[in-house]
């Protein structure tokens, strides 16, 4: 069985400007993907190409094995059975909520349609709002209606274009979880576009990081964080600092934090950068005897209280700055020194960038 969505070497160009370069990814049935990247990276263009709004200049897009986009040939959006939820919701202001949801249910019998609309209203928690009009609802409610409307015709794939960005933060996280729940109840595959990595992690099985019109990595959230394929992905996903190092032999790297062991093999003598995440550094409280591994001491430059934890910015003797996440009880004032231990499962190593 072919995958639900297969994107093969897709490029999109506006005139002579190329906005997408050789994008390739596949999404299997029932899974939820996410395109993550800063604004202007091309993620929305890719989403619109999948929906059929943008013609592609190279490559192909296939849905369940059927080619829907190829250079010069674009199956129009209305024939793709792809649902879409828009950033500004795009509800039809002249139709009631029920009519909005029923909009895509053409060819259904009246009773089927009514049942489907009722079911969806229940699903999104808006039972009883069918006769209301969009402007009478709050932003979050409008978003749920937009979702219900897109889900109503049981699309093969649902696309969500920054659907939570116009909502306030507290609403955003709750709704993202809720939508995820709804999608799995409906068994709908989806692709979400966002610039918010927390949202991406909370929502997606697979995440594609995009920058400059290229898909840098298509992977699980865990892998993106802990096994970034490139320096750009490492810098975009999560926080962290690059620490200079050098391969001692094929498995060990020497760094200011000590000598670290790697799963992968390197060329002895080669200069590298090692990615150190804030959660890779553990604060060793004085008197903690269970400490093992290499210990370094650093000066606290700055700290940010985050409720459950502190995010410290510290400086090593070499001048190298690092980020360190500690429980919020670990209270060290700026200017004081703290002992740190590197607790890393996988060593992420990039060849040193030459200036």
């Amino acid at each position: 069985m072919p995958p639900l969505l297969a994107i093969d070497a897709v490029s999109v160009a506006y005139g002579s400007t190329q906005v997408l370069h050789q994008i390739a990814l596949t999404l299997s049935h029932g899974s939820i993907g996410c395109l993550l990247g800063p604004s202007g990276c091309g993620k929305t263009t890719l989403l619109r190409a999948i929906a059929g709004f943008e013609p592609i200049s190279a490559g192909s897009i296939a849905l369940e094995g059927q080619v829907v986009s190829a250079p010069g040939r674009t199956l129009p959006p209305e024939r793709r059975q792809i649902g879409m939820v828009f950033q500004d919701f795009a509800l039809f202001p002249h139709l009631s909520i029920a009519d909005n949801i029923a909009f895509g249910l053409r060819g259904w019998s009246a009773s089927d349609r009514r049942q489907r609309v009722e079911a969806l209203l229940r699903l999104v928690g808006l039972s009883g709002y069918g006769r209301h009009y969009p402007h009478q609802l709050s932003g979050g409610q409008q978003q749920r209606v937009a979702l219900a409307r897109a889900l109503a015709p049981r699309p093969r794939l649902l696309l969500l274009d920054e659907p939570f960005s116009s909502l306030d933060v507290t609403l955003r996280e709750g709704l993202a979880r809720e939508v995820r729940e709804i999608l799995s109840q409906e068994g709908t595959s989806a692709i979400l576009v966002t610039h918010d990595q927390q949202e991406a992690f909370a929502f997606a099985d697979e995440i594609g990081v995009m920058a400059g019109g290229r898909l840098l990595q298509w992977d699980s959230g865990y892998n993106l964080y802990h096994r970034p394929a490139s320096r750009t992905v490492a810098q975009f996903v999560g926080q962290g600092q690059m620490v200079p190092g050098r391969w001692l032999d094929t498995t060990r790297v020497e760094t200011p934090l000590g000598i670290l062991r790697s799963d992968a093999e390197g060329t002895p003598g080669a200069e590298v950068d090692v990615l150190v995440r804030p959660d890779d550094l553990v604060h060793v409280r004085s008197g903690d005897s269970s400490a093992s591994g290499a210990l370094v001491t650093a000066t606290v430059i700055n700290r940010v209280f985050r409720g459950a934890e502190y995010l410290y910015t510290v400086q090593l003797g070499s001048g190298q700055q690092l980020l360190c996440l500690t429980p919020s009880h670990d209270d060290v004032a700026p200017g004081e020194r703290m002992a740190l231990r590197l607790d890393q499962r996988h060593l992420v190593v990039f060849p040193r960038q030459t200036a």
Partner: protein, 570 residues
Amino acid sequence: MNDTPSAAALPLTPPRRQRRRLFDGWLASALLVALLVALPVLAVFSFVLDPAASVWRHLGATVLGDYIANSLWLMLWVTIGVVAIGVPCAWLTSVCDFPGRRWLEWALLLPLAMPAYIIAYTYTGLLDFAGPVQTALRTTFDWSYGDYWFPPIRSLGGACAMFVLVLYPYVYMLARAAFLSQSRCALEVSRTLGAGPWRGFFTVALPLARPAVIAGVSLALMETLADYGTVVYFGVTTFTTGIFRTWYGLGNAAAAAQLAAALMLFVFVLIISERWSRRRQRYHHGSARFRALARHRLRGWQAVLASCVCLLPLLLGFVVPVLQLGQWALLTYEQSLNATFVTIALQTLLLAGTAALLVLAIALLLGYGKRLHSSRLLRSAVQIAGIGYAVPGTVIAVGVMLPFAAFDHTVDAFMSRYWGISTGLLLSGTLVALLFAYAVRFLAVALQTVEAGLGRIRPSTDDAARSLGLSPGSVLRRIHLPLLRGSLLTAIVLVFVDVLKELPATLILRPFNFNTLAVRTYELASDERLAEASLPALAIVAIGLLPVILLSRAIRRPATGEVDAALTGH
């Protein structure tokens, strides 16, 4: 099955092809129609290279300076006038409340039904030296000619006043729609930043309404430039009278066409520079939520003043001329009101109705075509097609006759040669040619309204409907048409009223034994029988009145989709 689709899967299935062709069919037909409508304008431009140097030397040495100066003065004063009347009335009726506001709101549109040449006749009758006003002054004060100064009605100033009185509703209507659709938020923001209500008006509300005001002014100016009847009657020589003087009097069609082309170029440059001047600004409010402005209740002298400000243009632009026409009609109705008159009225009604629907359909095709495809070719073609509004009707008529006759002659020659049948004139001299001329002449009015309406519908709305399985045509039918109801009604009414008033093109292009009220009015008035002309003139006003009232009821509701639905939803 393969996991990755191979190139072999590429040949697309037939139904998909059909869909694509429909999609492109829209672009193709929009392009075709735009080019067709632009044809008469291009036909006039085809004379540009014909030699006419001696006529130009003569014109340059004698009257051309006057033509240009008078036209520019007209434009300047009409602009000042329509803005000075249209904007304050729009502002007062949309954000304030004062005695009479409810009916003034729609009554202020009534002068739209009054053709400029008819209001010119009536004011001349009233204010001329021999008219009742000056006669009364003379009898009261025992003056005679030369003892006193009275503003001469037949002058550049008089012509400006006439145009302002009947054209200000364009600015009023569009500015009002803009004011009503402005969110209260923008104004409130300005208040929190320390701007009083007056500064709020000048720094926020007016700039936000600027495109609407400019659109209104440009409609008024285009109509002013195209006018022939009024300025000729007032003895004001303008670019347009110059075109006819050169064409008929000097018998030089090439030089006349060149003058007309110069006029069109001038208008074109104006339009382009206006577009350019606001190229970076966006005027639709981004917020999905919208709160209507709360009316500010005026009291005391402020209320009286507001009522007067709104009452005056209505009185001068409508009530006074209608009373004068009515008085004349009373003198003549017995001989003028007969079966022929009723036939003519019905013919006019049908013609204007058909034309309005046709022009609206074309405007929708082009406006929606531009929304679907950002084709530069289509944009230019639409721009040229829209220029007809500034071109005198007679020039349009000739521009229509040339290609139609060329087509007819070709068909006739072909048929005679191969089948021995002479088909004669198939389209020339039929209502088809006349309706086409109306489309060329009035497309700009409908297009501007439709495009403004479409611009207020966010593009994501189209995308949402497409992703829910609607073809572009269905999107237009099920989403845009309901949302555009107000704009479409406005467009229909404006074109209807314009066709009702249209004279020069109708006069030249109409078929045998076919008359309109405007033609009837003209024939009597040109024979200098104003009293007899008053009945058909009143009929024009009366027939124009109905849709104008309809329109005014429609614009009472703000024009954004959101608010449209807000009002229908309750």
